[in-house]
Amino acid sequence: MTRVPLLSAQGLNVRYGAIQAVRGIELSINEGEIVTFLGANGAGKSSTLNALVGLVPVAEGRVLFDDQDITDLAPERLTPMGLTLAPEGRRVFGGLTVEENLRMGAYAVNDVDRRMAAWDMVYDLFPILHERRKQFAGTLSGGQQQMLAIGRALMCGPRLLLLDEPSLGLAPKIVGQIFDLIALLRERDVTLGIVEQNVAMALEVADRGYVMAAGRVVATGTAEELRQTDRLRAAYLGEE
């Protein structure tokens, strides 16, 4: 079966001045899949996601989304096309209310019906956000802020949602809730790319994964395959 991936990157390189964070990565995400990106701190996972959505420039390589070349497109152009990212560290707008945060998430959606559907979906997935909608986002707990960050990203009705470390710094019980949610999102036809430190849980929800070390992909395969290879552990230990 040959199908065109929803998103693919070829020979992706990212540099910050003299630092080369991503070194010639190949990756693809198919419609309906959950793909996870694993690897130790500093492996280049965030740089990869940020480059895909145009937050950091692509030094070399090509990114295709839905058969279009999006290599040099700014993030504000990609959101309306259905590609967005919930960035590492949540980064909710603390001085805006929960409702205002979500409203900003739907900023690019002009169709009223689609916007209403997004409000319904997000408040349905996260009743707590509805309860707290008048509260400033800065006053929410870490777990609630993460839910808001994901909810906000969902408001634009993305076809592909990238999540950068959604479980970062959360209590184990909350982490469980976040992963339950990720499983729910799959049922709602959202394709997901997830960067995670929590390898076990990530491989449990994901279909496939990429293991990164020092800016390169050092292993790839189905979640099942990755669970069994040594390369995964090697990548975390910094060997290649």
């Binding site: 937050l55 504000e76 959101t79 707008f93 805006l96 900003m104 900023y107 906000r152």
Partner: protein
Amino acid sequence: MDLFVQQTVNALALGGTYALLALGLAVVFSIMGLINFAHGELMTISGYTLMYCGILGVPFAVSVPLAILAAVLAAVAMERIAFRPVRGGSGATMLITSFAVAMILQVLFQNLISARSQAVALPQILSQSVHLGNVIIGVNKIAAIAATVLMLIFLDRFMNRQKTGIAMRAAAEDFAVARLMGIRANTVIAGAFAISGLLAGVAAVLWVSQRASVDPLMGFTPVLKAFIAAILGGLGSLRGAVAGGFMLGFIEVYLAAFLPQEFQEFREPIGLGLVVLILLFRPNGMIPSRFLGLIKV
């Protein structure tokens, strides 16, 4: 007591003008980290528009909106021509750019209009006053306070209810993430400049209404004061800018009114000393911005 009421009205009128100017500086600063020293020249442009309208016999009710519009258009043009090319540059680069813009405009005013102060025709009513008991209040003061209140209400509504206003608050907090929402950098930055122009235009009309004259350096002093007010309130914080503007207005007016005669000479240094004293206790200003120090653009 009557004198106190009267001076309080004066302080509100002056402080309100400072507040509008400081707010204009703060809106731009909060979004792109630029302290726009050419903000004063937006005032001057409004002032000259009023002057020319007066010469041409345009009714005041028409020349006021025209003067405000001139400042808005000038602010948007300033962003487009001077600040867009240096966007994302260091704070110093942008600051120097704004100095350059201010100087170029000042030289243009001096050479194309006049280096000297020009009279601005104002309607009679502005120089009249109303008597409330024993208190005499100038109509221009009442107009200034009313205009300030209306502008603050308008801005509050805009920033809290309008999609573009909320997007400006979001962008001020985290520009990169705002862009992830589909918010365009050009939209919020042009919006910030348009609002700063609107505020400078209104402030200019109020300023000229108290003085009936305009000169090429007209904007310098009030914007320097507004800058002090913005720092006093907490640079980058909109509420802080308003609080700082009023605080500075009160300090100046009360010192002028109630400081003993022999100290009047030292009024300005005493006033600035009070500002320094407040900053000593609140180094980030009275109402600090929570987001200062985060990356812009």
